[in-house]
């Protein structure tokens, strides 16, 4: 899901204006690092790990992304050593309207060398223009070696592999308050049935178990699509999930209808929701950022939200402790079938619009465990690259995310709405599910309307 990536960094909009201004002036002052004397530095022992990336003194690679400061600085630090060893200067450019600017730039012949694309759908759209260049074999080999095979399919369009994953986020989390659980004697559920036993128990104790909010400006409804996806993946498995994405299984099918009914008994159940906020319809008017706030006030038991929600807690309480013995933490949303550990995730993909040697060198570096490990050690960043030891993660929630994302036995799937055509995945599915919550629109009408919006060609 692209939106949270954008939202979570939206607080720092000022920087973009400045970046755009600089970009407009053709300045390169936003780039980091100077090339120094690359030929000499290649003999530097610190450069031993970077020998494979060659020497490209005086070259520049431009990078375009939706990731804004302060994350930008962390990225630039992560490849500083790469820059000084290879002589490549990476020119970073972030924009909070990345999704609409990238197609315009590509159409105008002004494509960046590398773009970090948050949705596979947008990647496919870019490949269709013919501007995306296939990566060198080394990237493909890295992805084969270090990622769950599912990831490679999301970077593949019409049978050709184009883009390696960058960061990843873990969607199958339930946020809760360890202190409330301790005070009330609740235990973290490890099976699907335990989850509902616990929900009923909380309801009987007078605490509504679930809270939520799907509000997100024009993207209102995206969180509801995640809830539906989690349910479909657990109930019907990976095959149905994949066929659902390709529309071989329609929204108005027994499988999806069943998932909607389950979701209705969960997030539309007035015994369960909307804890600390109001009635069922208030889910539609509460922003996803504020959806979990009642957990800190012990007014709500649980909130199903992705790993990146960790960034939200400090805005409610500056001293918040995110740990298994802290104020808030997350547990894995259990699978129905314990033998198939269903994990839903999201992330960005590294697409190249040029195949100059320095671009391919940087692209290969970005798919390496060397880069992922440096980035992970900076904290607050998760990679599904299993070449990164779990012990290198600096915070508990990132470590827990990586544990599930790199599990070779997990039934991993990418966010379905990001893989569907934009008319559905960024359109009808959002608005119709929002109407399902806000107006109690009948399930059948909701599903029919989404099917009707599926592009015919």
């Amino acid at each position: 899901m692209s939106v949270p990536v954008r939202r979570r960094t939206a607080a720092v909009v000022g920087g973009v204006a400045a970046a755009l201004l600089l970009a407009a002036c053709g300045s390169s002052s936003s780039s980091s690092g100077t090339s120094g004397s690359p030929a000499a530095s290649n003999t530097d022992p610190a450069c031993a790990d970077y020998a494979a990336y060659g020497s490209h003194p005086g070259t520049t690679v431009s990078l375009f992304t939706s990731i804004l400061p302060p994350e930008q600085q962390k990225y630039e630090t992560a490849w500083k050593q790469f820059e000084s060893c290879t002589g490549i200067t990476v020119k970073y450019e972030g924009s909070n309207s990345f999704e609409s600017q990238l197609p315009t730039r590509v159409a105008g012949g002004n494509a960046p060398d590398i773009a970090l694309i948050p949705q596979p759908g947008l990647l496919a759209q870019m490949v269709k223009t013919g501007a995306v260049k296939a990566p060198p074999q080394a990237v493909s080999d890295n992805v084969d070696k270090y990622w769950n095979p599912q990831w490679k399919t999301y970077g593949t369009v019409n049978g050709t592999f184009y883009a390696a994953p960058n960061s990843a986020n873990m969607k199958s989390f339930v946020w809760y308050s360890p202190s409330l659980f301790k005070a009330k004697g609740y235990t973290v559920p490890t099976t699907w049935d335990q989850l509902w036993t616990l929900s009923d128990k909380m309801a009987a104790d007078g605490i509504k178990p679930w809270c939520g909010g799907v509000g997100s400006g024009t993207a209102t409804g995206w969180l509801a699509t995640d809830w539906l996806e989690e349910t479909v993946l657990r109930q019907s498995g990976g095959d149905v999930y994949d066929k659902w994405i390709s529309h071989d299984i329609k929204f108005d099918s027994p499988e999806i209808t069943k998932a909607m009914d389950t979701l209705a008994g969960w997030m539309k159940n007035d015994k369960y929701v909307n804890a600390g906020i109001g009635n069922v319809a208030s889910i539609a008017t509460t922003t996803f950022q504020n959806g979990g706030k009642p957990i800190l006030d012990s007014k709500c038991g649980m909130y199903q939200q992705a790993s990146f929600y960790a960034a939200q807690w400090p805005s409610f309480k500056a001293s918040v402790k995110i740990a298994a013995d802290g104020d808030v933490f997350a547990f894995y949303l259990p699978s129905i079938d314990p033998s198939k550990k269903a994990v839903e995730g999201g992330g960005e993909f590294v697409a190249a619009f040029a195949d100059r040697p320095e671009v391919q060198s940087f692209q290969t570096f970005l798919s390496s465990p060397l880069y992922a490990d440096i980035k992970v050690k900076e904290g607050g960043w998760v990679s599904a690259n299993n070449g990164v030891p779990l012990t290198d993660y600096t915070d508990d929630i990132s470590k827990l995310s990586a544990q599930y994302l790199t599990d070779p036995n997990a039934l991993f799937r990418f966010d379905a709405s990001d893989l569907m055509p934009a008319a559905v995945g960024s359109g009808a599915e959002w608005t119709q599910l929002t109407a399902w919550f806000a107006e109690n629109k009948p399930t059948k009408d909701v599903l029919d309307a989404i099917d009707a919006a599926w592009p015919s060609s």
């Binding site: 759209q125 400006g217 359109g427 592009p455």
Partner: protein, 324 residues
Amino acid sequence: MTTGYKLFLTVAVPCLFFATLLVVFWLASKTKARFQTPLARLIFLGPAAVLLFIGLVIPALQTFWKGFLNDDSTKWIGLKNYGWIFTTPDNRTFLINTLLWIIITPIFSTALGLTLALLLDRMKRESLPKSLIFMPMAISFVGASIIWNLVYSYKDPSVSPNQTGLLSAIMIRLGLSDPPNWILWQPWNNFLLMVIMIWIQTGFAMVVLSAAIKAIPTDVTEAAMLDGASGWSLFSKVTVPMIRGTLVVVLTTIAIGVLKVFDIVRTMTGGNFGTQVLANEMYAQSFVQFNYGRGSALAVVLFIAVVPLIVYNIVQLRKEQSIR
């Protein structure tokens, strides 16, 4: 790019620009007398015409053309996009809402503005209340929407007794124990959004109409008063006919602004809860769902809808000017 180079550019570019202008003017002055008038027209109008062509005419034609193409503009699909606009059942919401916005908002803003202009006309120190009422004009639509979002914000009174939303708080004080979640309160939520636009535009209507009222010659009103007109008859038979032209201009100007309204809807509801309007749907189709065909078709519909208003507006303005 070094600072020195940048400084050089800041100085050199304007210098070069003026030098070119000087050369052009000097050359023009050397031409024969009978070429001078057409040449002067060309020199003064030419650049503006070229820029207008590049910046306005070509994109407009492109939009018109793309309205007949598919989502990524690779295939001709004829009138399908227009068919989609007018035949999809869910689209009825934004068509009806846009119509409601166009009718209700200009009428209410103008009526309120006229009432205030009349009431304030004979007040001492009228500039103070006038500037206060005009103030919302200075706030952007997005800013205004954020303010009103707080006014309409809702908390279940049984969950939290302290209300953030002003409207809910007032209603509870007045004895309504369970106010609705205003933003979800269909179809009235549309009117709650229009209130924001009216709040902004009333000041504009008031200022323009107040100026028009002050421009009515006193001999006309005095003559009417001598003939026995007063109060309502003076207002309806003298004041309104005398400012009729201005009234029409104010109404159409607000109507044009309303057709473009998308910031309020986008900020308040994102087009959900039955409040979608044409301009916001156009944005969503073009830049969220990347269906440039439908987005362009919607833009053309918007353009066609706004043309008669603009023509009428200009005709009225011309009439006004010819009277003076």
